[in-house]
Structure formats: C-alpha cells, structure tokens
Symmetry: C2
Subunit: 567 residues, 2 copies
C-alpha cells in the first residue's frame, strides 16, 4: 500500500484519480495553490502536476478539505445516522464527533453500539464520545444508567474517542466520586466539557479535572477565559443555540488553532435550510474572518483536537475527503468527495442506504397500562404551583395560581392544563404530574417520546381521554410525536428508533413535522409564541430553570428539589 502510494507520488505510475487544475486550499500555510491532487485508494498521494487513470478537471474551482462537526447529537435531527449522513454529506461534512447522549438515555450501551454499527459503512466518519451523564440527573428515570465500569467496555472500540460532554459540572467541581471515576478512566483520552458560566477558581477546577473542550460558551469573555486555560472551544451554530456571531469576535490568529466549529443540536428544518458546518463557515466569513481560517476551524483544528491523524487537510497521506467550492465569499458547496469518491453534488447525496437493520432499537415504549385515574391531580386546596411557559424560551417560571378543583381533583381550564411524564423504559408505572400555563391548547392533547434527557413519554392536554389516547398511540407506534383531538388521532410522526429517530429521509420527517406543527396551531390552538414539540421536549429536563416535571414529580430547579403541587 505505502509502496504503491510512493510510486504514484513519485510519478512512476499513474494515480487512480487526479483532480486537475484545482485551486487548492492549504490550511497549513493559508495559501491557495493551483495544482493537481493525485488520489490512490481513497488517500491523497501527491500535489503538483499528476496524471491519472481518471481525471476530473476542476477548471480552477476551489478544493477544500472536507469539514468536521466537532460536537453533534445526531438524535436532534430526528433521523438515523445513515439518513443524517445523506443530509449532511452534501454540505461538505465527512466527519462528525457524535455524542449519542439521547439514545444512550433510552438504550444504554446498546444505543451507543447501534450508532457505531449503523454508521460503519457510510461516507460519513462518525466518531463517538461516550455519554458521561446517563441519566443526566438523579431526579428522573432513564432507560439506562451508565457508570464508569459500563463505559469502560467501549474504550478501545474503533471510532470511540473519549468521554462525552461532562454536563455535571457541579459534580466535577465538587469532586463527586462517580464523576471522578469517569474522569480518571478517561484521563488519557479527550473529554468534552459542558460547563457554561463557571469561572475563576471553579473553572480551574473543571479544567484540572481533565475537561478538554467547551461548546457552551455564549460570550467572548467565557470563551477567552477557557482558551487561556488551554481548552478547545467549539464555536456552535445549531438550532436552539446560535453562538457563532458573538464568539467569532474572540477569534484571532494567535488563538485560532484551538477554535473549532460544531452544530451540537440541529433540527430537520434548519439542516434543510442552511446545511451543517458549511453554515458556520459562511457565517464566519461574513463576520470578516479570513476564509482559510474559517476552513481551518472546520477541518484541521477539529482533527487535531480529536487526534484524527490524516484528516483535516489536503496533503500527501491524508484522506481524500474534499469539497469543491465555487468561491470563498458565497461558499457554495458544489461537490463533496469522501475518500476520493463523489458522494454529494448540488446539495444531493449520491449514495444509497441498503441493508439497514434497525430492529434492535425498536419497541422502546415499555409502559404499564395507564388509566384515567392515573392522570388525576389531587390538591389540598385550590392553590397550586404551576409551570408557566415563557414565549420563545426554554426557561420556565414558577408561579402560584388559584385553580379549579372539584372533589379535590384539579379541573383543567383554558389557561392551565395538565402535563404528565410517563416512565416508558422499565414499566415502573411512574407518572409525574404537573400543571402548565401558557401552552394554549383546546380539546386535545400532544404527546412525545422526545423528552430530555430521559426521554420518557411527555403528554400535555386539557382532558384525560385525549391524553390517554395520545399515550396509547405512542405505545402503538413505538414512540414518536402525536396530536389528538376530541377522541381522535389527528396525526402521528412515528420515531421508531428509540422513540427519538425516524428511518425516513430528513426531508420527509421535516414535511411531516411542519404539517403537524400547523395542525397544532390550527386545530389544537396552541399559542403562536410556543413551539409545541420543542417546548414539550424540555419540560421534563430538570437542569433548565426554574420549574420542571419528571416521571418522579414536580421539580424546583432553583431549590434543586422536588416540591408539592399543592401550596
């Protein structure tokens, strides 16, 4: 293999493939160099003037190393890894660092293995950081508990790089034993961080714990503080969190090498609208950053951060993962080559997905039969703690409200309705109940198996019958999102893979979602300032302020404890 590559590089033999007349983007020297790129067996063997059995004349177009998404949860796309590949490879992304945190909360190690196996034959190299926080908190029941000894089983697996985002930053800073056990286990691997806000001595403590990266920065100050301590910073542009325009201000030639790009969470509509890491690059170029530096953050820097030798540049010995671009201002992705093969062109994927067997990730809705009685909320008086939703915000407000009560039972009104979190992994029968204000729904119910981070069934409604029906529908389809009104299923998006992902292509999932979103507003009357599916998916996450509900009950995030519904 090396022998053949040397012969071709030397010009003694023709290359299999030569990209002729390219303007090659050199991320080592920030130059654009006119020349040919010779490829053999998926790798670049020479740059200069070469002849090939096959030749592709680029006629002066730009040839860039393909892009790396430094931190992404595939599950947020609501499609499988292979469908995700079809969606993002045409954007020029041929490598991602995935944190399968969501599927691990449902299926544990098997979920992580599924991500690895399902991506084994894709033109997208999926590396995995092992989820560090499953469950995310002790205040909920997830489908799995991953201790250090469990994660250890996957160390050494191909494409497993290290420990995923350590969101339990209080656990690090306070030196919790189970957290330290994980940090110690991965001390010679890369460990991703998730420790926003903390600073000064606590930040030193977090870094000395072994945390290498951070993708949660939202201000220049946070970013610079972390760069100074040697962290790699993921500049994130996702769906919910969009930090690039702010953070890019902190980037300069001196600190650039430790800046990389990521999407973290990107929903179907945004992926379809503006792509993946190519969007980060375009935004950064618009912000005035040297385009080659932007490409560098999207390629070489991420490869160095995660120790991916032979990735992130166009140079001899490197993988021929390359992107053809029209110009460095608009930065339109014309063609995408993975290991020298054309896999994306004009925003379309050029590969097929066959032989996918996803059966082991199906049938993950495992609940005890729920009765109407199980959804009853009994109050001591007529005053209750209520979760108030705020417009366009995942943060909730804790409010006290006088509510309608009959025979001690809460009666939903136009403003205040019920939400239930039904444990769906281990048939415990656990149901957490709460009252919600500001959702705005009439004669119906919405339910979903996407409910961060444990992904139990979350259901909201103004009547028990429709709520029950929604739960039963999700049980029937094996997870997903459903809309119910007046005793009838209006529409359902099945998410058969762990209740999180569809096997359908991204655009189909997106069409369905948009359709259902319209029905949620038009038929069910959800408030226009509420995105019902995303809002629902975060009501059960007890780390976002100020009041949430899990399958274990109503949780006051500020006080960090469960509280009664009754006042």
């Amino acid at each position: 293999m090396i022998k053949k590559m040397i012969k071709i590089a030397k010009g003694d033999e023709k290359a299999q493939l030569v990209f002729k007349n390219a303007n090659i983007i050199n991320v080592f020297t920030n130059e654009i160099i006119a020349g040919d790129v010779a490829v053999y067996n998926g790798r670049i063997v020479g740059i200069g003037q070469y002849k090939g059995e096959k030749e592709i004349d680029l006629k002066g177009k730009f040839l860039s190393p393909a892009f790396i998404d430094g931190h992404v949860h595939i599950e947020s796309s609501m499609v499988t890894p292979s469908q995700f590949a079809k969606a993002i490879v045409p954007s020029g992304v041929t490598t991602i660092i995935a944190d399968p945190h969501e599927i691990a909360n449902v299926k544990g190690l098997d979920g992580i293995r599924y991500i690895l196996e399902e991506s084994d034959d894709l033109p997208l190299d999926i590396y995995v950081m092992l989820p560090s926080c499953v469950p995310a908190t002790p205040f909920e029941n997830s489908g799995a508990v991953l201790k250090a000894e469990d994660l250890e089983k996957l160390i050494g697996e191909k494409r497993v790089l290290g420990l995923g985002e350590m969101m339990n930053y209080p656990g690090v800073v306070n030196g919790d034993e189970d957290v330290l056990e994980k940090l110690t286990l991965f001390k010679d691997h890369i460990i991703d961080g998730h420790g926003p806000i903390i600073k000064d001595k606590e930040l030193n403590a977090y870094v000395v714990g072994g945390i290498d990266t951070e993708h949660e920065c939202s201000t220049v100050e946070e970013m610079v503080d972390r760069l100074r301590l040697g962290m790699y910073i993921h500049i994130r542009e996702g769906s919910a969190a969009r930090n690039l325009t702010e953070l890019i201000k902190a980037v300069n030639k001196d600190n650039l090498r430790r800046c990389i790009f990521c999407t973290d969470d990107k929903h179907p509509s945004d992926l379809l609208k503006n792509g993946s890491i190519d969007h980060n690059i375009r935004l950064a170029i618009k912000s005035g950053v040297d385009p080659i530096d932007c490409i560098k953050m999207a390629s070489l820097n991420a490869a160095e951060c995660y120790g991916l030798k032979g990735k992130g540049a166009i140079a001899p010995g490197y993988l021929a993962d390359m992107v053809v671009i029209d110009n460095l201002e608009d930065f339109n992705i014309l063609e995408v080559y993975k290991a020298g093969e054309l896999k994306g062109k004009d925003k379309e994927a050029l590969f097929n997905l066959e032989n996918r067997d996803n059966s082991r990730m199906k049938n993950t809705v495992n609940i005890k039969k729920v009765q109407e009685e199980d959804l009853q909320i009994y109050l001591k008086g007529d005053k209750a703690n209520v979760i108030k939703l705020l417009p366009h915000n995942l943060v909730t407000e804790k409010v006290e409200r006088k509510v309608m009560v009959k025979d001690g039972k809460f009666i939903p009104s136009k403003d205040i309705m019920k939400v239930a979190v039904v444990e769906r992994h281990n048939k415990t029968g656990n149901i957490g109940l709460a009252l919600v204000e500001g959702f705005g729904l009439k004669n119906g119910s919405i339910a979903s198996t996407i409910a961060h981070d444990s992904h139990n069934i979350i259901v909201i409604g103004d009547n028990d019958r429709d709520m029950l029906l929604a739960i039963e529908e999700l049980q029937r389809v094996g997870g997903g999102i459903t809309l119910v009104s007046k005793g009838e299923i209006i529409d359902t998006l099945p998410l058969t893979i762990a209740g999180l992902m569809s096997e359908e292509p991204l655009h189909k999932v997106n069409d369905k979602l948009n359709n259902m979103l319209n029905k949620a507003y038009d038929v069910l009357g959800v408030n226009e300032y509420i995105e019902p599916f995303m809002t629902l998916s975060f009501i059960a996450l007890p780390v976002i302020p100020n009041i949430k509900v899990t399958d274990m009950g109503l949780f006051d995030v500020k006080e960090f404890k469960f509280i009664d519904l009754s006042l």
Copy 2:
C-alpha cells in the same frame, strides 16, 4: 489525585506551592497575564489568586513554559544523558526528543535502552525516537544492524515516541523493502525526516511514506515546500548546522503552529557558550518574531508535534515545568522548575547525579591486533585518488595527486598523509585506508572513536608508529580521542561510554577538548582552518560529498561506489 487537585484549584485547600505575582506567558492566546500559579504534586492546578503552603514571590518576573528540544543527538555533547541534563536544564530545557542514533550504531538496542534507563530519574524528560538507519549506509560496518523486527521490540516502551530521522530518503523514494517495513511498522507513530534538497514529486513521495517532520531545511523555499505538505519543521540551531536566522524568515502567524525548535547536534563549547533552545529563542526574538511565538515554537508546538499531552504550556493539569525570565528582550534564564522543583538557577544545575552504573556501555573497542603492515597502502603507480579537505567544510573534494612511493608503498609527505578506519565493534580486522590532503600534521597522529555514523576508529597520521600507538591508546581507554607525537601519547580524552561519551561533567570535557585542540595546532601543527576532531569524525561518513573512507574502503559519494586508491 484528581480529587485533591480539584480541591486546590477550587480554593478549598492550600496548594503545596504557589508562584505568586508572576507575569505568566500564555501560549494559547499570546497574552501576558499577571497572577499566581498553584502547583500540586508537580502539576499546575490553578491560575489566578492562590495560597500555598510554600509561596515563591516572583515579583512580576516572567514565567514561561519550559522548553522542548524537538530533535537532538545527546551523543554530540560527548557526555552522558545525566551530564547532558545538568548542562541544559539550567537553559530552561526540561524535555528533549532524543535520537540515539550514534550509540545505537555502536551498541544497538542496548544502547537505546541505556539512554532510556540512564535518564529515568532525571529532571529532564528524555523521549526517544528509534534510530531508523543503523547502519547509516551499507558501505560500512557498525556495531549493530537494526531491522524493523528489532525496533518493534521497543515500541510501547515508556518514552519511545516513534521512528527517528529517516535519512535514507532515497530508500523511501525508491520504495526499498526494508525501509518500507520500518515505515509501515511506525505508520501510527510519528516519524522524523531527514530529507534535504528533495522536492516536487520526490518530496510528495517522501511525505506519503509517512514522514512527519524535517529538521534539515536550510532555505525558506525548502521549509515552505514542506510546511505546505503538512510537515512539522524543526528550525535548527546547532554547532555545525545553523539554520535559524534563515528559516525564521519563513515563519508567520498562519504557519507558526507547525514550526518547532531543535539543536540536533551541539558540541560542548557551544552548549557552554550559548545554551540550548534558549539560544534559538533569543535568536528568533532578535530576528523580530513575537517573543511569545518564539516561546510557543519552543514549547506548545513541539509538545503537539510529538503528542506530549500536559506539556508545553502553563495551564491547569499541565506539568509545572516552568522558567523564570527577566525580560523578553535579553531573555535571561533566571530559574528553572521541573515538576515544580527548582532544578536550575543562574545557569547552574541544582541536582546531583548518583548511582549511575554505566558499565554496560563500556569496553566497546573490540579490535584485532593491528600491525604496521596493516596500515600499508600499496599503489600501482605514483598516482592516487586523494581526499582533499576544504577549509571549514565537511564536504571533501576528490583529487588526483602524484604521491611518493617506495617499493610500491605510499610514503606520507607534508601535504598528503594516511588515514585509516579500523572496524572496532566485531573484531573483523577490517581496515579501510585512504590518503588525505589539507589536514596538516607533522610527526604524529590523531585518532578518535567518534567517526560518523558507525563510529569505528579513525586515525590520521604521517607515520605508522604513531598511528599504531594512537589505535592502541584508544583500545586501552575504551574509546575516546587521542593525540600522539613522536612515539608518545600527548593527551587523551577517554569517552568510555560507547566510545562516544564521557562520564565527566560537560565543562570538564570541554576544558580537556580545548586543551587538546590547542595541542593539535601547537604541537602537531594541524592546519588552522581545520577543526581536527570534527573533521576526522566526518571523514568516514559516506553520505556527505564527495569522497570518504569507511572500514570497507575508499568511497566515491558522487558515484555512490567504492573506488581504488590507485589511478
């Protein structure tokens, strides 16, 4: 361990040691940040405001990460690794990437193991690149032959990083099997290069072979060509090769990250005169490069190149290898801390060397008894091929000369004398003989066991008796350098360790050498434009143009073959 570090970082417990009021050089952001550095168990745990059981007030002095020599042959210092540490730690160097090529040519794997073992307890971290070319050429007999299968035995050893400088670049480019075997074996490790001059397609071939670094660049063009292909470039400032002033012109903010510093070969006098990597830094600063970028090349960049996690910066979790500097113009090294302990101050080493057992590297002069007859050169006529030495140059000229002959035997004259290379490892009795012009020596002889790269005995003289005496003296002391005149030993520097290194401190070796150098000029009458010891040590190296002699005979480097002495 992590737990304790976190507690200290957080400020819950006092640090063992705190450097107070430092101006801390931050190589991640090119900033100088005033603050304290807290240390526990040899590692940095926090930067900011800290209290320690012990506190050292730096009163605003600069605190820099300690330096890394990216490529060095310890043997060129003519002292043992431990004595070398005493010599360079006060210069701020606490890590070196050593290529024990010389000792490996004498003692093979045992020589490499000796370097590792002898440096196990030093305040200098010695990493080893395994010598790739032992012997350096097939045209000489060395003390060992290291094939891929031999090198394989040391992969995985602590502090062994990869494959040392691949000076057989024709072998790479031509795809020689034994070279490819080594390249394949080390393909997932770092491989150092040594491929000057080659360019274009041959350079591509060299790089695709897996070569990661180059320290032999002497022009900006060579350097930029290699940076473009993704190589790391060692900017060298040694004794014989001094490339920094030229190469530093190629360094800019875009390519800086792949530039590192090295000394390669530095002789005792230069080490004593201007130090080690600190000299590279000073020269680079004088050339107008941002001082923090200079420090970065000497620290973080080298650490990244060789994958030395936790080295090369002042940040939480990093080793407390730090240097106190007075200012960034003169760049005087005031104090050197290794893992938080003061090991160098005012150019003096502050540690002792005890329990060194070097016996296994002694008695390496293993020769058959040499007779006067063995040194006779029989010529067909009175014309001979002669090695002409050039002033201040390791390159020789091939000349034809009419010489004195009696009974077919060459008779030395004032201008043309004899040189012999006596195989000294395996008692083969091999002796290579040649004629040398331009050395200038009368009534005497000089001999040395430093004779690149096989390190046989090389002896020059104008009479056989003194030449024999010199050979016998080196046999007696177990290797070294000796001066003989008129049947008497004038002086000898014993190099008892493999015939290459002394166990004495560097300054003693240097004093002795200077003394002997003076005697070589004054007593023996060596030409003033010839450095006799260095010149001798390169006469047997058949890769430097144009004519050399090994234990196997006279070698025409241009024709790349052995030739007759007679014309």
